[in-house]
Symmetry: C2
Subunit: 341 residues, 2 copies
Amino acid sequence: MAPVRNARAIMNDYPSGYPEPGKTLVYDDSQTIDLDTVPLNGRFLIKTLVLSIDPYMRGRMRSGGPSYVPPFELGKPITSGGVGVVIRSEKEGVKAGDHVLGLMGHQEYSIRSSLEGMVIIQDKHGLPWSVYLGAAGMPGFTAFVGWKKFAHSKPGDVVFVTTGGGPVGSMVIQIAKAEGLKVIASAGSEEKVAFMKSIGTDVAFNYKTTSTREILEKEGPIDIFWDNVGGEILEAALDAANVNARFIECGMISGYNSGGAPVRNLMLIVGKDITMRGFIQTRHFDEHKDEFYATIPEKLAKGEIKYTEDITHGLDKVGDVMLSVLKGTNKGKAIVHVADE
Amino acid sequence: MAPVRNARAIMNDYPSGYPEPGKTLVYDDSQTIDLDTVPLNGRFLIKTLVLSIDPYMRGRMRSGGPSYVPPFELGKPITSGGVGVVIRSEKEGVKAGDHVLGLMGHQEYSIRSSLEGMVIIQDKHGLPWSVYLGAAGMPGFTAFVGWKKFAHSKPGDVVFVTTGGGPVGSMVIQIAKAEGLKVIASAGSEEKVAFMKSIGTDVAFNYKTTSTREILEKEGPIDIFWDNVGGEILEAALDAANVNARFIECGMISGYNSGGAPVRNLMLIVGKDITMRGFIQTRHFDEHKDEFYATIPEKLAKGEIKYTEDITHGLDKVGDVMLSVLKGTNKGKAIVHVADE
């Protein structure tokens, strides 16, 4: 067979604020690959099916400095969670037709020498592969493990969840509602507010049109805060917190494009005996993955836990989707669909 | 006997920044009291011996707003921890000669109807009463209980203690050293640095002449941070923290006179899986006081735990001493000596 295009989304220029589509990440279709003859030398060839776009990726668009993830390299395809299908293999334990889940390059085809950072997955529940990047994947696990380890929930607790329309927040909402707690949740569009209401949120509001501070004053005080935002919203949550509140710090998107949003009333964690716990899901994965995969995918397939997706087609759209998740204009878990099987 | 002076230190004017001696708190000696004939009507009469001056008192010098302690009332004596001796009593269970410890008005004599907020104390160890306001009192207990509940120390941990020359910090240092941990500690004078070295601090430095950030880069990363300061020092500690670090938030004196010092790199608690725990010692007192009083006063009396005091004589000096503890120019636990027995 003749060589085919192997298009890529390349890290072209580190942004100082929001990433700029067409500049920060660029689409490159100059490479080709012959799928039948490319030498594997003991490796395996993957066709990329779906890729995840997540807010944390902004943190990798930098030239250096310490962080929990290394920077994306200039001139190379970025990477993120993805699902692919093996189309040829010379690797023992990997065969054509296997589906792999893990950190994948943003390119249509890739050759790997090992499964490091990947797993072979089987879908027992009839879920689309994209769901293994969202509710049944990293964001869903983030919600599951953060709540399990750090919420210390008790009957009567009031919970405030930010980015409640997203894959992490909406899972947190549903876990908290399953425990019978009162849930206040915010998102940035009416569509997301409607979704949050549909999954049982007691007080769902659009933070762009409604004051978070006023909502919390009326509906709080809060016992558990799920923070994906930081900055001013974290300040409002500190003001509205009960004594002994637990703040689960999952992300601080408000500061990702500005180098960090200041928090001025941290002193309240002293006066209110607040516990603030940050975490990165990967550090808790091995300990809790079995419980997650044994319970959550089945609930998703049965519709007992709901999710939303916002699927965009083509690697040429990666820059736009990246900006949308950082601006919060996406309508569900952001997925780039690269190819059908 | 003729009436005697009953001098008082009065809350005169709420400060916007640092308190101003002679304006914020004023000395008033216009009242008198006849110790022999003042009617008690079932109450008891206390002669004030020593009073404690602590940084948290700045938080009470305000007109209102939520806090964990109510404001000082304008025109009335401020209150703080103190020790007094009962000179007359009509109250059952309280007799002349009893020593009482608790929240006391800043006046030479006071009449109380109940022991609420006070305890009758006996010194079994030959310690000066003032020590029951410092190392054997509220600050010592703060260190004891904060470490016990929130340090989660393990062998090999590196600890960073701020205000290490003060009554809380110096107790934390000695507890950590007793556990064999490496201790880095800061204070604001060479005298305090010398004291910190004398109690075993591995790396003692003057934050006014040495960069905290440079010390932590060289001597860290840190696993446990005892924070009495907040603001820029907290930012430096976040930068120097290890994964899974514990931040014990005891106070944030850097913001007490400015309405709160901003913290810009809080996002690191996510990336480093940091637990930040604030607390107010009173909420943990009933649960842990017995263990504290059973162990710490004896160690202090035997010299196994060291302490320093900075004793000033006279209620007319309360305003100056208050400013000194907020500026950090005091040389040890700040005590106002009001009278001998």
